[in-house]
């Protein structure tokens, strides 16, 4: 089965080709079926591989397809690696990918670009699978940039709207900034280890001393790549804008899979990062700062998708915090559970948006509980899960990260818990604003309210179940679990763990930590309940006065404006300066000046030709005399 791993990316590629080439004549039913089926087939193969790997003694397989780039001692094969980490990621990508394909059949039904949408979605899955499966950094980089492309295409799916097209461009460019860091890291890795294959780099790295400059530089550059893809400070502003894309895209790409690629990549290279404590500290701080900043922004947003987008940024921050404190398993655990509940929440939001005729502003929603029961209850599960209430999945993963953070530094833990409070608050705020109280939209919208079709509710239900029980793959020992996930991923992280040592929090401390975070979440959700459900508070319209903090938060800390003033504008001015002053005036002026100087010199010299014969003769004789004198003195 493992030898057939190339089938996994091949199926979506075939789906992409069929839907892409046949988009003008294939019926919508066929398009949706092909698109979903191909991803399902990949999921089936992934499942097979997962079980085979689970039962196998060898935990890492490399399958080489063909030689890709071969120059001198640089040899980059196109090859795949199957190990516990990639097999789990495969399941997430294909499994959730499949559910979202099914959901899209219903969600995109009325769209004229239906086939285009499915072909792009399939292409995304293809690239994401390359990213996951690549057995070296360069193949990973193919997927890495490929998913960026698909993200670009799908954010700009409704490209007639200039704002959406700009959001797409912004996402691509910001990703590219990170990608340059990744690319240079690849060069550095090749120069240091003479290979870019994981299987060759990591064993060599394991023998190096911790904290060497090269490793620190490599890891910082890799992290720069990760900040672009996974929307961390300073490159996070593209993700909220990316909500311009259709909602299934937000769920698949901008919540469940692509944005976690940065975490996947760091987890994959964990040994390198373990050897660079300095980088780990940076990661922890950046991750936590992003988590808090995004949470602060999320609490005042009124666009339902923007709330979820900032929540995603914030949760990604938690994952990076986990990586930074060495909780690789915890971070990846959070990737998994986050994929479940955030995909669920986005799809639920999509279902709501679908029901209220493409309205996204929560100020025009409310009271949808009775009209959309399935959506409500599934989203409730998702909200509880993300808020970290036991025994839902988010509790276990977030708690594992926070516990490691506590071990690392109590301050990190404290800020993390405060961030978790914010999370619970804004998520319940969103839930109450949407589903409780009275409907605040137009009567037309009210008349149109309906529960979504089965193709949309089915994925919601499946994801809700996963959000509830997903955490049980990683129940910690303190709660009498055996943490199956940690055991399964042990081969991937063992080298790092040997260096850092296992966790040594005693169980009573863990209990206290858990209790504190649960109480924090409960309190926060209760405040949200009081404010938005019982008192029916509705956020003020855009024109109204806000308090200073609310204003800053609502305007996203003016970060886009700051970037615009600090980077975009100066570059544009510089561009104009280079073009008009340096290029046209200075360099071209010099070139043209040479030409003009020649012409001017000619103009001056021609005056010598007066037409006066006497003058000519005089010059001639003077010349002869000069020659004579010259000859006289030289001979």
């Amino acid at each position: 089965m493992i030898n057939l791993v190339w089938l996994i990316p091949l199926f979506p590629l075939i789906g992409f080709l069929i839907n892409g080439l046949g988009r003008s004549f294939l019926p919508k039913g066929a398009v949706g079926f092909i698109g979903s089926l191909t991803v399902f087939l990949s999921f089936a193969v992934s499942l097979g591989i997962f079980f085979e790997l689970n039962g196998s003694v060898t935990k890492s397989f490399t399958i080489q397809l063909f030689d890709w780039i071969q120059v001198g001692n640089l040899s980059i094969p196109f090859s795949f690696q199957v190990d516990p980490l990639s097999s789990l990621m495969l399941l997430i990508v294909t499994g959730i990918g499949f559910l979202i394909h099914v959901y899209s059949i219903g969600y995109m039904h009325h769209d004229t670009g239906f086939a285009k949408f499915f072909s792009y979605l399939n292409l995304f899955v293809f690239f994401m699978l390359l990213l996951v499966l690549g057995s070296n950094y360069v193949v990973m980089f193919i997927g890495w940039e490929g998913v960026g492309l698909c993200s670009y295409l799908l954010i700009g799916f409704w490209f007639s709207n200039p704002a959406y097209a700009s959001a797409a461009k912004k996402a691509f460019v910001m990703n590219r900034i990170g990608d340059l860091g990744f690319l240079i890291a690849i060069f550095l890795i090749f120069n240091t280890f003479n290979s870019v294959e994981f299987a060759k780099v990591f064993p060599q790295a394991a023998s190096l001393t911790a904290g060497s400059d090269v490793i620190t530089l490599i890891t910082i550059l890799l992290f720069v790549g990760a900040t672009g893809k996974s929307a961390q400070i300073p490159l996070f502003t593209w993700l909220p804008d990316a909500m311009a894309g259709p909602t299934p895209v937000s769920a698949l790409i901008h919540a469940a899979t692509m944005v976690t690629a940065g975490i996947y990549m760091i987890a994959r290279s964990n040994i390198l990062f373990t050897l660079a404590p300095f980088t780990l500290d940076i990661i922890a701080v950046v991750g936590l700062a992003t988590a808090i900043l995004a949470a602060l922004i999320a609490i005042t947003q009124t666009d339902i998708k923007k709330v979820l987008a900032y929540s995603t940024v914030s949760q990604l921050g938690y994952m990076f915090l986990g990586l930074g404190v060495g909780a690789y398993t915890g971070a990846f655990f959070h990737v998994i559970t986050h994929a479940f509940f955030k995909a669920l929440l986005f799809l639920g939001a999509g279902s709501v948006i679908h029901a209220v005729s493409n309205e996204q502003d929560m100020r025009s929603m409310g009271g949808l509980k009775s009209k959309l029961p399935v959506t409500f209850y599934t989203m409730l599960m998702g909200t509880i899960a993300i808020s970290g209430l036991p025994p839902f999945s988010g509790f276990f993963s977030k708690d594992e990260i926070l516990a490691h953070a506590y071990e690392h530094s109590k301050l990190l833990w404290l800020i993390g818990v405060i961030g978790a409070m914010f999370t619970a608050f804004y998520m319940f705020r969103m839930l109450f604003l949407t589903f409780f109280g009275k409907f605040r939209g137009t009567t037309e919208q009210q008349a149109h309210l309906h529960e979504s079709p089965a193709s949309m509710t089915f994925p919601l239900i499946v994801l809700a179940v996963l959000s509830i029980i997903g955490g049980f793959i990683g129940v910690p020992e303190a709660l009498h679990g055996n943490h199956w996930l940690a055991g399964f991923l042990e081969p991937v992280f063992s080298a790092s763990e040997q260096r850092t040592g296992a966790s040594h929090l005693d169980h009573s401390t863990e209990y206290i930590l858990m209790t504190v975070s649960v109480i924090a979440a409960v309190v926060a959700s209760f405040i949200a309940y009081l404010r938005y459900a019982r008192n029916n508070h509705v956020p003020v319209p855009d024109t109204a006065e806000r308090t200073a903090f609310a204003n800053v938060s609502y305007n996203k800390f003016y970060i886009d404006e700051i970037y615009d003033a600090l980077i975009t504008k100066p570059l544009n001015i510089l561009s104009g300066f280079f073009y008009r002053i340096v290029d046209k005036t200075f360099i071209d002026g010099f070139v043209n000046g040479l030409g003009r100087a020649t012409a001017e010199a000619g103009k001056g010299l021609r005056l010598l030709q007066t037409g006066n014969i006497g003058f000519y003769i005089f010059i001639m004789i003077a010349g002869i005399v000069a020659l004579l004198v010259y000859g006289f003195y030289n001979i």
């Binding site: 780039i69 001198g72 193919i142 240079i184 120069n191 280079f578």
Partner: protein, 492 residues
């Protein structure tokens, strides 16, 4: 003898095609004839052994009184460029099918004539012959641009001609000087390679050759003829200039500049590299705010060629192999881009991107092919551009991490200006003039599909192309490094 056929086949075609005079069938004839050349190149490629050095050589007395022989041959480096030339010329001719140029016989005759000159440049092993080819290629492109170009064509083309010609003359000085130094006063390339001149002599020779190549590529700050010329030329002329002709400069740097004056290279290589890297960022930044789409692509071409030049001047295997394959890729991509722009300009009658928008809705096939070409240009993995830029940046990295980081900015900046252009042209609401934009059809479709297929194919499976030039580049690098290290001239 194959070389003679290769070089003179297009020339014969030029004569035949020019007989068509004012009949539009000239384009068909020219196309068929260029396919002959392409087919013959395929035959050569089939018999070509990458490991065997220079092949298919011809060597017979030509201008003996001058010391010049008709000496030409093909090694891996030449092979790739011959392939580029003979593959791109049919595409360029096909791409111009929608135009009805006046006096097509002359127009297409000149294109084929130029092809001969280019092939001569890429195969010549005698400096005098090389120079002859160098100028032969210049004359037809001057007439193509000056007769069939835009409104400002005369002024712009005089500048182009004089600028490049001045560079060539300086190179001619260098060639003559080198020939005078050889024992029996010949222009033989290998004779040049065997010489061991002093460092200062080699520096002067290096600078003399460098002027010609730097202007032709063009490298910052010798580039100012280029945007104007690209903008004012007829599309076929722009394609010839950017797709093939500027590779004369990069090819010259590999074959005639660095190995001929290795010590001069040791002296000045870093300066040249710095100029190339500055040019990358500089031209990219200028491309940021261009409104004229042809000018934008012209500046982007300066940036991309700057990267190729930088890869050459670091003079290591990755850089040079990257430069080789990127010459091919750049030719293909820039041809595709200019063709796409040609389609847009022809249908909308403007080059100002502010007057465009919403074409993607009207022309989905066009928008996809445009996007693929664009992605090739911004070096997305699995397109051809990535292979080239990856190797080039890696070569630069092996030289200096900062050079690589600064040159790598092209990855970001390129994405910015290219996507900005794509967005302005293709996305957004439709303008009045784009509402009736017709999707590609006929020859347009054929050309764009071929280009896209090649872009993806090279991106996925570049190995055969890389293999063609690898032995030659490695030998050349070893040879030059040996000479710089101070050894007596080794056999080459």
């Amino acid at each position: 003898m194959e070389i003679l056929l290769l070089i003179f086949l297009p020339l014969a075609g030029a004569i035949i095609v020019s007989l068509f005079g004012k009949h539009q069938q000239a384009k068909t004839a020219a196309f068929i004839w260029s396919l002959l050349s392409l087919g013959f190149t395929g035959y050569l490629l089939d018999g070509f052994d990458p490991a065997a050095g220079t092949q298919f050589t011809v060597d017979f007395p030509w201008l003996l009184s001058l010391g010049s022989r008709f000496n030409a041959g093909i090694d891996g480096i030449s092979m790739l460029l011959v392939l580029l030339t003979n593959a791109l010329v049919p595409l360029i001719i096909l791409a111009s099918f929608s135009h009805n140029y006046k006096s097509p016989g002359a127009f297409y005759g000149l294109i084929l004539f130029m092809q001969s000159g280019l092939l001569l440049v890429f195969t010549a092993l005698d400096a005098f012959l090389f120079y002859v080819g160098w100028e032969i290629a210049l004359i037809p492109i001057y007439f193509i641009c000056a007769i069939w170009g835009g409104s400002n064509r005369i002024k712009v083309n005089i500048k182009f001609f004089i600028y490049t010609f001045a560079g060539s003359l300086i190179m001619l000085l260098g060639i003559i000087y080198m020939a005078q130094q050889t024992p029996d006063k010949t222009f033989d390339l290998l004779g040049f390679y065997q010489l061991s001149l002093s460092t200062s002599e080699q520096s002067w020779v290096f600078l003399a050759f460098f002027m010609a190549f730097a202007i032709k590529m063009p490298i910052f700050p010798f580039h100012t003829w280029q945007p104007d010329t690209y903008t004012e030329s007829p599309t076929a002329g722009t394609m010839l200039l950017s797709g093939i002709m500027l590779k004369m400069g990069t090819y010259g740097a590999i074959r005639w500049l660095i190995p001929v004056a290795p010590l001069g290279f040791a002296q000045w290589g870093q300066t040249a590299l710095t100029l190339a890297v500055i040019g990358i960022v500089y031209a990219s930044l200028i491309a940021f705010t261009q409104k004229d789409i042809k000018r934008l692509v012209a500046y982007s071409s300066i940036a991309h060629v700057g990267l190729i030049a930088a890869g050459i001047f670091v003079w290591n295997l990755q850089g040079l192999q990257g430069a080789m394959i990127q010459m091919l890729n750049h030719g293909l991509n820039v041809f595709g881009l200019f063709f796409v722009l040609d389609i847009i300009i022809r249908r909308l009658g403007t080059r100002d991107m502010d007057k465009m928008g919403g074409i993607a809705k009207m022309a989905p096939k066009f928008s996809i092919t445009f996007l693929i070409i664009l992605l090739g240009t911004v070096a997305l993995p699995l397109t051809n551009g990535f292979i080239g830029e990856f190797l080039l940046l890696m070569g630069l990295y092996n030289y200096n991490i900062w050079a690589s980081a600064i040159a790598g900015l092209t990855i970001i900046l390129g994405a910015v200006y290219m996507l900005r252009m794509y967005q302005r042209i293709m996305f957004g609401p439709s303008a009045d003039n784009t509402l009736t934009f017709a999707d590609i059809a006929g020859t347009e479709k054929v050309v764009l599909f071929v280009v896209c297929a090649l872009i993806l194919f090279i991106g996925v499976y570049p190995k055969p192309l890389l293999a063609i030039s690898e032995t030659s580049t490695r030998e050349l690098i070893d040879f030059v490094n040996g000479k710089i290290a101070g050894g007596s001239p080794t056999n080459y």
